[in-house]
Subunit: 324 residues, 2 copies
Amino acid sequence: MANIKEIARIAGVSVTTVSRVLNNHPYVSKDKRTAVLKTIEQLNYTRNMNAVHLITGRTGAVAVILPMINSFYFSVVMDGLAQAALMAQYRLILCQTNYVPEEELKVLNMLRNKEIDGVVIVSTALKPEMIEPYCAYGPIVTCQNSGERPYSSVYIEHYAAFRHGLDYLHSKGHRKIGYCEGRENGSSASIRQSAFQDFLAEKGLPFDPEWMIFDCVREEDGAEVARRLLDMRSRPEAMIISGDHVAAGLIIEARKHGLSIPEELAVMGFDNQPIGRLLEITTIDNQLYQMGSAAFEIVHKHIHGSSLPVTRKLEYRIIERSTV
Amino acid sequence: MANIKEIARIAGVSVTTVSRVLNNHPYVSKDKRTAVLKTIEQLNYTRNMNAVHLITGRTGAVAVILPMINSFYFSVVMDGLAQAALMAQYRLILCQTNYVPEEELKVLNMLRNKEIDGVVIVSTALKPEMIEPYCAYGPIVTCQNSGERPYSSVYIEHYAAFRHGLDYLHSKGHRKIGYCEGRENGSSASIRQSAFQDFLAEKGLPFDPEWMIFDCVREEDGAEVARRLLDMRSRPEAMIISGDHVAAGLIIEARKHGLSIPEELAVMGFDNQPIGRLLEITTIDNQLYQMGSAAFEIVHKHIHGSSLPVTRKLEYRIIERSTV
């Protein structure tokens, strides 16, 4: 492949002139510019962008850490990120880590090695104290409240949002309340568990460990929950479920067995997913798309010089439909 | 930041020795290696990976072109790609292009500029003749049959798969068959349309333009189709629907209005999605996850020297459930 010296020699100009033309520098005569561009075309010259990145110190790329892309939650957040990145003409490196800490650290080391300009952590197995040292190498934005940490975040208050949902169930007269969650030890999941248990304790409501069910991620998991509920001697009157897909599975399976919803079992979803609209599931909208786009906007501002960490809280709201 | 010369000076060794240590070259004495590593630690030296990429000519990254990530189809393919990339310790650059040709060409130009080692095109608005010139710059794999083109592909035969589904409906006695599709002009969609029209013509079945409905992408679109069908004077007896999400929307809405499925309307889905399992939708499994993982494996082999284009055809099969 032709290099810049060769182009200068063939075009009969200096290396500086070629460099100026490549970088759209104004102080080049029209004749020389034409000569350089013609030569470039003749030689089918392409710039090695790695050299450009080395010189400019920027790569135009941001890495995104998430456990899996094939889930409604993460693909909506990724959609928001990707649209904002496209607008800013930035590239996203998708790092699907399956929550393996070593893989997540590798991504943070890309920041250290200047392979990327910033990192967005949508969800991670890493503790904040493991993330913090990497702030020295470039901007990091997480989708969980970073509090006093030196990196930025955009988040919803899972505790308040979940309590809001529980209050709503309570206001509709429900006292025996069950709960479906994804990963038992996930950081947002842990916050929701606290909200659930605090709420029951404060209101003096019964807590039955059988009514708190983990590892509910897909529609089928919801269907399995429905079958378990139907087999219980003492069943909750209402369920709060993190994820409308899981709620959809529960509702479809429960109705198949003749259980009427909301009369015999009220169901409150979470995430405001399209399947929830279709089945008229009462749910909590938590602005997942906006979380992705805001996370990108914040990392992009940091890349372009804004240095103070930002914590942006997103709103949530209950969408009343017909399952509570 | 410290550079390699500074490390050599402080460690009291040559630049060559530092370089050998950084690249795990065997011919370095233990003492010198220790001195270099200690100095690196002292100086908190990090390699600029752009320099490494410039020297090695490889970036360890593959770009993925797709229109949107927030769709079941694309997120499953991406999942397959991401798992295979993680195994190979490669990074994926997600290029969500919204089918804008200029954006797609920018990604192909990244190959030209050596910013990436290869490209996987999951779905594109570009014609094959626009893709072909970029094969000169590195490996390209598409998820549509590339035929005699000089790049690789992994694909399902949409024509045969769709006809197989139509044959199945026909074998169950259905003669008035309707069809729901996504983008009217999508390349796979166009193939399925031909399959549909050829099938009707060959079997001498009635074709009613009202029964061929486009722009069906989400659950709600399926629900809208159900309402349209209910309003028709003459309704099809069976629908073939590209995408189980759309089929789910149709089925739920149709049942809400008292239409019994499959007795009054048979429904055949496509893609074998989780919602289809839950609603017991008869569908065609087309191995989307395998498409992603195979596409990555092929591009990875090309990066490591295999130069002949590969076309890999994936199997499809009907999954009999209860909606036909």
